[in-house]
């Protein structure tokens, strides 16, 4: 009676097709014969029964274990999804904002205020062009404009730069020292001088060195760069490197890494190559941390540095080709990618790839409908696609709406473009991968990502690729860990990464509290305090505009009652948004504060963009204008009177200006359970 059913005690009797892939130690002879108890002796029958039972037990344990692993895998994937969604939502937001502003100034708009904000934000740093602009830049950012005070203790450098300078800087940065802004300008100007001599696409050959190392996104992580140099050796004429973009933003040591890579390029100009990434763009630096880092580290000199960076980005080559058959680019390709066309572009036009200068007016209040010629638009698209695209699994090429720029390109596009140019492989970065690398499109596209622990400690490895002459690339993985960390079990690793992601979500809940409660109460008219799982998931998904696996996550986010209904007030049991400036917070203000915190990143971006001299203050009028204008952008209703009131009360000195850094930092997400503990 066991023979048909011993593998599955729970399934109803039904006809099943024969099983494949079974490893069963049942004696073949017995399996084919008539029911065993008719044929064999009692002891043999007992033996067989025993071995059936053993087998059944083994399978039970195996299948339950696999279920457990699957649950962990699901949770890990869900946590990953959270991080990615939030990251890309931010990028998308940024692009939407800029598109919004650009549209504003392109069309004749009735809303003077919005237009005024837009032009201020998008106004080019220089109203000059050509040679005049060049001279102006050199004048404003010359190293001679900053003198070195005698008290400076950090490293000193001078031209010509040498290997020794490089090593001195590495040691200094590892010790946490800051390079004097005078020297930073010296290095940056020297870099710029060299970059201007480079073509749009680097031509790299492994003929002499036999290999070249490709490094992916670093995003300000000095630790990861040090690991790479440690494992793979410092750059030199025998050890060439290609840095594939996204050196800055997000991490806290972007300038240090940029300086090191610049010095490497200056010392070994034939063997260190740089590709521009989408974050080598001042518009993104506004929001993603590089600008903040410079301002924090270099204070009064930050404007000069930022202005020079803005220009240097535009001189970075946009791609590299190794041995004429491997294409290395930060984002990827699209159906229109064409090397000849790319080589003809004057890349320095694209200070920002997101909002190139030809669509920005040179003077304030100048807004006319400009007719951008088609070939200029196509040219822009070439560059945008190179820096922003992502591969997809299905054929075709479509706009990358997830990011807001570039394309999704499919395996057919890879085949076409590879064939057109006689390439065999595309190496790109731009996307964080759990293992630090990922092959796709039939192994014709390799993603390399070099910032380990990108989302949270333990979230992912980093990797770099050694490209050897006429061989497949060798991928080396690594992960940067603090010495004190012991190696974690699978359960612990998943737990930690998940924890950070969940914290993120809980923050979002508290920031959106008024919207969420409104919707909850609409469903729960009888005020029972509970709603169904379906309703909770729908509402949360809609209000936060995050398409996440809420059912899988809900166990860690809310409480449920024994019948399985969700006690929705527990959505906010952990965190509360508090506004720590000395202003009275009544209920109306509370909802305004939530509104502002939700848009904190946008506000910050725009404040910084307007604050051209990086003084950290903007006028009250500008503050009010920005808040109201952003309301028009994304449909949040900032009440103008409320904002003005808030602005007035924040301006404690009553001098008509608002320190927006102070304002932004005044928002804190606080742990409700322990009011004395503050977390940002």
């Amino acid at each position: 009676m066991f023979s048909d059913r011993w593998l599955c005690f729970c399934c109803p009797q039904m006809h099943k097709p024969p099983r494949r892939q079974m490893v069963a130690p049942i004696d073949e002879v017995h399996a084919q014969s008539n029911p065993p108890h008719l044929q064999i002796s009692r002891t043999k029958f007992q033996e067989k029964k025993r071995s059936d039972l053993t087998l059944a037990s083994v399978v039970i344990i195996q299948k339950w274990f696999r279920r457990r692993q699957a649950l962990f895998e699901m949770r890990r994937k869900a946590a990953w999804t959270i991080y990615q969604h939030i990251e890309y939502a931010g990028e998308q937001d940024q692009l939407k904002l800029y598109n919004f502003f650009i549209e504003l100034i392109q069309t004749v708009s009735n809303n003077r205020r919005d237009v005024s904000v837009a032009t201020k934000v998008l106004r080019r740093s220089s109203s000059l062009s050509g040679l005049a602009e060049e001279l102006e830049l050199e004048q404003l950012t010359a190293a001679s404009t900053i003198s070195i005070e005698p008290t400076y203790q950090g490293p000193h450098i001078n031209l010509p730069l040498t290997k020794e300078h490089f090593e001195v800087l590495i040691l200094a940065f590892q010790r946490g020292e800051l390079l004097h802004p005078h020297y930073v300008l010296v290095i940056l100007h020297e870099l710029r001088r060299l970059l201007k001599t480079l073509p749009n696409v680097n031509v790299v050959s492994t003929h002499l060195t036999k290999f070249v190392t490709v490094v992916g996104d670093l995003h300000g992580s000095l630790a990861d760069l040090m690991i790479i140099f440690h494992k793979n050796g410092l750059p030199s004429n025998e050890n060439p490197y290609i840095f594939n973009g996204d050196i800055v933003d997000r991490g806290f040591q972007s300038i240090e890494i940029f300086i090191l890579i610049s010095v490497a390029l200056i010392v070994y100009p034939s063997n260190v190559y740089l590709n521009r990434g989408n974050h080598e763009d001042h518009v993104l630096n506004l929001r993603y941390g590089f600008m903040k880092e410079i301002i924090h580290k270099y204070k009064v000199n930050s404007s000069r540095l930022l202005r020079l960076f803005e220009n240097i980005y535009s001189w970075l080559p946009v791609a590299s080709v190794i041995d004429e058959h491997i294409f290395v680019v930060h984002g990827g390709i699209s159906n229109i990618t064409d090397l000849a066309t790319i080589n003809r572009i004057k890349r320095q036009k694209y200070l920002s790839v997101l909002s190139p200068t030809f669509i920005i007016p040179t003077e304030e209040d100048q807004f006319e409908i400009s007719n951008i010629p088609n070939d200029l638009l196509l040219e822009w698209r070439q560059i945008l696609d190179l820096l922003w695209s992502d591969p997809k699994q299905t054929d075709g090429c479509e706009p990358n709406t997830y990011r807001g720029g570039g394309c999704y390109w499919g395996p057919d596009v890879t085949r076409t473009i590879l064939e057109k140019h006689k390439w065999t492989l595309i190496i790109r970065s731009h996307e964080c991968k759990e293992e630090g690398f990922d092959y796709t499109h039939d192994n014709k596209v390799l993603t390399i990502f070099s910032a380990s622990n990108y989302y949270a400690v333990g979230s992912n490895r980093g990797a770099y690729a050694k490209v050897l002459t006429n061989q497949s690339p060798l991928v080396v993985q690594f992960i940067s860990t603090k010495a004190s960390q012991k190696s974690l079990t699978l359960w612990e690793r998943v737990s930690y990464v998940e924890e950070q992601a969940i914290k993120n979500l809980i923050e979002k809940f508290s920031v959106n509290k008024s919207f969420l409660m409104k919707e909850f109460l609409q469903v729960d008219k009888k005020r029972t305090g509970r709603i169904s799982v379906n309703n909770w998931c729908d509402i949360v998904s809609r209000v936060l505009d995050l398409n996440l696996p809420w059912r899988t996550l809900k166990a860690q986010l809310v409480e449920t009652d024994p019948q399985g209904w969700i006690l929705y007030e527990s959505t906010f049991r952990f965190k509360e948004l508090q506004f720590a400036l000395n202003v009275q917070i009544n209920d109306r203000r509370r909802s305004l504060c939530q509104c502002m915190y939700r848009n904190k990143d946008l506000l910050e971006t725009v404040f910084r963009a307007i604050d051209k001299d990086n003084s950290g203050v903007i006028s009250m009028q500008e503050f009010t204008d920005v808040c109201t204008s952003l309301g028009n952008h994304n449909g949040t209703k900032f009440d103008e009177k409320q904002i003005t009131d808030l602005a007035v009360s924040i301006d404690l000195d009553k001098n008509g200006v608002i320190d927006f850094n102070e304002f932004l930092e005044a928002f804190r997400i606080v742990d409700i359970t322990d009011p004395s503990m503050e977390q940002i």
Partner: protein
Amino acid sequence: MATPTDAASAVPEQENRVTLRDPIRESEERANQARIKRLTEAFNVFDQESNNTIPSSELGTVVRSLGLVPTEGELQDILSEMSDDSNPESIHLERFLNVMNTILKDRRYQGEPESKILRAFQVLDTQNNGYLSEDEFRNYLCKEGEPFNDEEFQDFMTIALDDETNHKCTYKDFVQHLVVEDND
């Protein structure tokens, strides 16, 4: 319970007759909707491209993450029911929902109660020691039934080592780890 005079629930038909709400059918419908939502969500986590397909290789993880406990062989059955011969590498959402909805409704592959899992360990513990050594585990789990590969066996043993019993493992605790729920 609805009453026939409840205007919102009445569906007037051509001849001015009114159809009654059927609370049983409605609650079945609601349960059905909930199942579909749950299935779609689990599916979407692995739908990298947002094009309503997942790679066939991920089916096991998806099905098990829903709390079901099929064997590898049973998974093959499920896969063959929903895979598309023209594109065997991936599974489409529609087919997935059809097959899985029935499976959930019929409450198949629910797995056995803890006591049976405990008994499974006891069967293997031929000496009646109360625990099994790593070698014993290896002999059973990597060689019989639906064998573990090296990686699976490693992870399996870390459960034992989590309990710090030095290469032995009292399987009572083991069972607790194996039946870990979503909420843990």
